[in-house]
């Protein structure tokens, strides 16, 4: 067992689970989507991205790409949220909530791809 691999797998899977936790629920109902969970998902996604830096293999490149997609989607969702609450002052209307959650849904898909690659890579590893 390799501690580095544990940390790597931990952050990638945690990024997916947090993202899923935020995403699940009625898409227009702001009460079913927790802000703290969103914050956690963004932080863990960023850490997962940094952990993927510097791998020159093809699989490493796809790993990094999927993480970057997830970061982009989640940060876009956070910006939409900030604008709705602080800039326009319209608050979390059902349509705003829907766009935030659907952006997070896209990030979830990218995170699932990441986890699938991780699993495939592990399965292909021969002892």
């Amino acid at each position: 067992m390799n501690l580095e691999k544990v940390v790597f797998g931990f952050f990638i899977i945690l990024a997916m689970t947090l993202n899923f936790g935020f995403f699940i629920g009625d898409i227009t109902d702001a009460r079913q989507h927790d802000l703290m969970e969103m914050f956690g998902a963004i932080v863990v996604n960023l850490v997962a991205t940094v952990l993927k830096f510097g791998d020159r293999t093809q699989i490493g490149a796809i790993h990094l790409a999927s993480s970057l997609v997830a970061d982009l989607q989640l940060i876009a969702a956070a910006i939409v949220w900030t604008i709705a609450v602080h800039v326009t002052g319209s608050g979390l209307t059902p349509s705003t909530t829907a766009s935030i959650v659907s952006l997070a849904g896209g990030a979830l898909l990218a995170n699932i791809v990441s986890v699938v690659i991780l699993v495939v890579e592990t399965v292909m590893l021969r002892r």
Partner: protein
């Protein structure tokens, strides 16, 4: 460049994670700390405000308490987060700067830059492996002849010396091992503008490795390699190295030539020296008894060459291992008794050819004292003894680096010149004497050597002219500003349809595809090259008629009715 980016990213992992973690903790704490708004109601900072606060405190800008004055709990947390995030920033910035100065990173960066520069070179260049004495002399001479060079040397100090010398054009240099094929590829071995590879390191094995790699990776590229042992030389020859240069043998051959045909020797020296430098003085080595001090690689080569010219020699050698000849005098030659025993009083010349400069001086000074009219040939081993050689002024100095550089230059810059010299060697000394006096009449400095090929790309105007009424060799030598003047240049050789003719007659008709080798002044070279590339100038030189441009013709004709 990809390698550098990945290296950079990998090293950046730790500082970036520290930065993200400290921001996350600080943000979370700021959001959780209870506060009070001006109306006295409980209030908590939003993520947006917390991030805004961190953005100006973590970078130590500072801004005040926004949007409302903070509660003590918030102030406590701001104090904590300020210190953690500022330290995280300092750590990350420090790491980035350290990474930029990291020797490994710098080396990767230098290697990448070098490979990019040589790949982008769009003019003829030569790869020089080894920037020692020989390499620096060669690069300088190539620079004077407008040929660029890419230098590889294993010593970082010598690589930085490349920049210290003032070259007319940039010389790209990299600290790398010439034995590794990757270094040769980085130096532009695959670039189509690369005109040759010269292996000049002081390690025969490294030269051999570079020559093999070059022949395998680009079989048609000319390879010139220096070697000091004959077994390595034979090895290099075996796989088709174009030019194996053993400085001792080259010098011995030239010394033989100087004894046998002084004008031939002078012609060779003049045509292969660096253009613009003063002409080398003629040399008259005497015939008679020669004493050779030191019978190592150099002494053997010189003795062989002298004996094949029918000159009697006597050898002085201290090491019993090297004593092969029965009449060898044992001793170092630095003291008078040994020299007397070898017959210094009747000798006409002495060769101080040991591998130690101090001993060579001692031999030469003692010899001059015993026989003031003696002709002295000295081997120069170290460049920093230059001043001593100038002060002593022996008749002939053998400097291996100079010999090798000259050989390389002739083979690299004008391949036609090497052919010319090979053919000229078969001519008589009188023939050479006449040519030498013509060259001396041009200008009192070493002439430029250049060739013109009558092809659409090489000389478009001359190529076009050669089709019509007929272009003769003399037309190329006429000044395109005034036909009454002749350029200060001499035609050395004409290659027409694969037939080489030495010093062809001026009235020879030039066919398309012919190649002409010239020597002359720098001014003559630029005028001649202008004429063969410009139609009007060439037409005037060939026929005396002046062609006008399209605009002038239109004006002269006037408006059409």
């Amino acid at each position: 460049m990809g390698g550098v980016v990945f290296l950079f990213l990998r090293r950046m992992r730790a500082p970036l994670i520290v930065l993200i973690a400290s921001y996350a903790i600080a943000l979370l704490g700021l959001v959780l700390m209870p506060g009070v708004d001006p109306a006295g109601r409980p209030w908590r900072m939003s993520f947006f405000h917390a991030f805004y606060l961190l953005a100006y405190t973590a970078t130590t800008t500072g801004f005040g308490e926004l949007p409302y004055p903070y509660s003590d709990a918030q102030r406590m947390w701001v104090t904590f987060s300020l210190y953690t995030t500022v330290i995280a920033w300092l750590y990350a910035v420090g790491k980035i700067i350290a990474l930029l100065q990291d020797p490994l990173f710098q080396r990767v960066l230098a290697g990448t830059r070098f490979a990019r520069q040589t790949r982008a070179l769009r003019e003829p260049f030569v790869i020089v492996c080894g920037y020692g004495e020989t390499g620096s002399v060669l690069v300088e001479a190539l620079d004077a002849r407008r040929v660029r060079s890419a230098v590889i040397d294993i010593d970082a100090g010598r690589v930085s010396e490349v920049d210290l010398r003032g070259h007319a054009a940039d010389v790209y240099a990299l600290c790398a091992d010439a034995r590794l094929p990757d270094s040769l590829l980085a130096a532009g071995l695959r670039n189509s503008e690369c005109r040759g590879l010269v292996a000049l390191t002081d390690d025969d094995e490294a030269n051999l490795a570079a020559a093999v790699a070059s022949k395998l990776l680009r079989p048609k590229l000319p390879v010139l390699a220096r070697c000091e042992s004959s077994s390595t030389g034979a090895n290099m020859d075996s796989f088709g190295t174009d030019h194996v240069i053993n400085p001792f043998e080259v010098f011995a051959r030239e010394l033989g030539l100087a004894v046998h045909a002084p004008s031939q020797y002078l012609l060779r020296e003049w045509l292969t020296a660096v253009p613009g430098t003063p002409l080398v003085e003629p040399l008259q080595p005497p015939r008679g008894l020669w004493i050779v001090c030191g019978y190592g690689r150099f002494g053997r080569a010189v003795s062989g060459a002298l004996e094949s010219e029918g000159i009697s020699i006597r050898v002085i050698e201290p090491d019993p291992v090297n004593i092969e000849r029965a009449d060898t005098v044992r001793g170092s030659g630095t003291e008078a008794p040994t020299l007397r025993e070898a017959g210094i009083d009747e000798a006409v010349a002495i060769v101080a050819g040991t591998s130690d400069d101090v001993n060579n001086f001692s031999i030469a000074m003692t010899a001059r004292e015993l026989n003031p009219r003696i002709f002295i040939v000295m081997r120069k081993n170290r460049r920093h003894n230059e001043v001593l050689f100038e002060a002593f002024a022996p008749e002939l100095i053998m400097q291996p680096s100079q010999v090798v550089a000259t050989e390389c230059l002739a083979a690299l810059t004008t391949p036609l010149l090497a052919r010319f010299l090979a053919m000229a060697e078969r001519e008589s000394n009188d023939w050479a004497n006449e040519l030498v006096s013509r060259i001396a009449g041009l200008d009192n400095s070493t002439p430029e050597i250049w060739s013109v090929a009558l092809t659409p790309a090489g000389a478009p105007a001359a190529w076009r002219e050669a089709a019509g009424a007929g272009l003769r060799l003399e037309h190329l030598l006429l000044d395109h500003a005034n036909r009454a003047n002749r350029l200060d240049a001499i035609v050395l050789m004409l290659d027409s349809d694969g037939r080489d003719s030495l010093l062809p007659d001026d009235s020879v008709r030039l066919e398309r595809g012919a190649v002409v080798l010239f020597c002359g002044t720098a001014a003559a070279r630029s005028r001649l090259l202008f004429a063969v590339n410009h139609r009007n100038a060439m037409h005037y030189a060939a026929t005396g008629e002046i062609l006008h441009g399209a605009l002038w013709n239109l004006l002269k004709r006037g408006p059409q009715p």
